[in-house]
Amino acid sequence: MENLWPNDLLEEMSGATPNAIETILEIQAIGLSTITGGLVVGRVRDRSFRPARAWSLYIEPVDQPSKAYEFLIIRSADGGYPVVVETYHLADMRLKRCESKATLTKALQKIFAEPSSKSLIRTLAEEAIAAGAVARPEGDTKVQSARPIEIGPLFNTTDGQVSSVSMFGISGHISDTTLENLRDRNKRVVEPLNESFVVTIPFVGTVKATVSKEELDVLVAQATRSLKGY
């Protein structure tokens, strides 16, 4: 089947149409990835409660969404200008009111050039490198969807040393031995499966998972069936 869209579909666009606020932020999110060689990626999240509009720019080390940092939020009464930019880490210029696309552009330029902004992004880039990421000269403008993984430090319990873990929607605690096995990619814990790996993790005590109503129905039905022996 041939493509039915006319070739001149966009020919009438002047190119001078002001970008939507969300689009301006999306461009910055992609730009961050490019400028950091793909080590730090940005995501725009729509946090609107209509009719008011709000968009947040989150930044995170590549593949580590659990470390997502809300860099700034742009709020608008109705989706247009004026907007207020709140940049959380800038104590002296935390709030900026922008009357137009031009002033918003200027404000974002100033915010991104602040030494504390650069320092924050460098910290996240270092975290990405520490986790094995490699900077690519041309950057990576496509943000892969990664699942959040978070392992806290070790602490003592009556069950020995454990660490708080939250990943892939489940939470609990794992022992220092399991952490060591993971660190060493021990065969008992990490096994290759085609291009992926199977990770086997014993948890200490309870494991919690958040499920939807539909998932709970499936869980309950399967548990019931299992108890009946089939």
Binding site: S56, Y69, Y88, A91, P153, L154, T157, S166, G169
Partner: protein, 272 residues
């Protein structure tokens, strides 16, 4: 620096607040250029018997100070200008209990066109972030403490789609259904302080005379807990502190001595 050291030491030595082991977890909001390593050194010199630690957050906007095992805190990113962390408490032979603790500093409505709209907006953003963390961590034992920059009776604190924080323990245990949608409550133990001046407590944590209001002491610094933690809040333990050891945090006229901070510290004890 001296005021912070005095405050932390006072908390660790007050067993009503920190329990028999002197468990302290203190958060300083907007600490500026405070020297964290010097603070830690001073605390370990002046309050021996505890292993003090101090940590600055990624945004530099929060410094956490504690005597509890630092390993029991698991930080992730920052959102809404707030610092969330998971605290795992080990209580004897019982299983480990994790709590989602949020150190809060919401935007000030000063200079905003409409304070009420702003309160509602930022409170809703925080509420959504709390809900999301509860889902991701499969844990609804949430505690939020800090400068909400709005009073307990603000729509941002009480509306169902915002923080939905009730003054009443009994009400907070249920859910609130509005237009067929269920909303979980928070319990706000700070209500009991509103308007109550005692010899050791002012009726708020922030003092400002606005032109359009007869309220001069404002209770912007608050603690919210989810219903499952209502019984863990030690009754009457929510406090606005006016002294930190030998330091008086008030001026001779009863206002806030801003050499320490423009807000008075608040504390809460939870049996966890």
């Amino acid at each position: 620096m001296d005021g912070v050291v005095a405050l932390a030491v006072a908390l660790a030595t007050d067993q009503d607040l920190s329990g028999p082991d002197g468990d302290v977890l203190l958060c300083l909001g907007e600490p500026g250029t405070l020297d964290v390593s010097q603070l830690q050194q001073q605390l370990n010199l002046q309050a021996t018997g505890h292993q003090w630690w101090c940590q600055r957050s990624l945004s530099q906007r929060f410094v956490t100070v504690g005597t509890i095992n630092q390993g029991t805190l698991s930080y992730s990113g920052e959102t809404c200008g707030c610092l969330p962390t998971t605290v795992s408490r080990v209580n004897g032979q019982n299983e480990i209990s994790p709590y989602e603790l949020w150190f809060v500093h919401l935007m000030s409505p000063m200079n905003s066109d409409d304070a009420s709209v702003l309160h509602t907006g930022v409170a809703r953003e925080l509420r959504e972030a709390v809900d999301e963390r509860e889902r991701v961590r499969s844990n609804s034992a949430t505690i939020a403490i800090g400068d909400f920059n709005m009073p307990p009776y603000s729509p941002g604190m009480t509306a169902p789609t915002t923080l939905n924080a009730a003054a009443c323990k009994t009400a907070a245990r249920g859910t609130r259904t509005v237009r067929a949608q269920k909303h979980n409550y928070f319990f706000n133990p700070m209500w009991e302080i509103l308007g109550s001046r005692r010899s050791d407590q002012q009726p708020g944590s922030f003092y400002k005379r606005y032109d359009n209001s007869a309220i001069f002491w404002h209770l912007y610094d608050q603690v919210l807990v989810r219903p499952e933690l209502v019984d863990s809040v030690v009754t009457g333990s929510a406090r606005v502190m006016t002294t930190a050891g030998a330091f008086n945090l008030l001026t001779s006229q009863g206002g806030i001595d801003t050499r320490f901070s423009d807000h008075l510290p608040i504390t809460i004890s939870l049996a966890i």
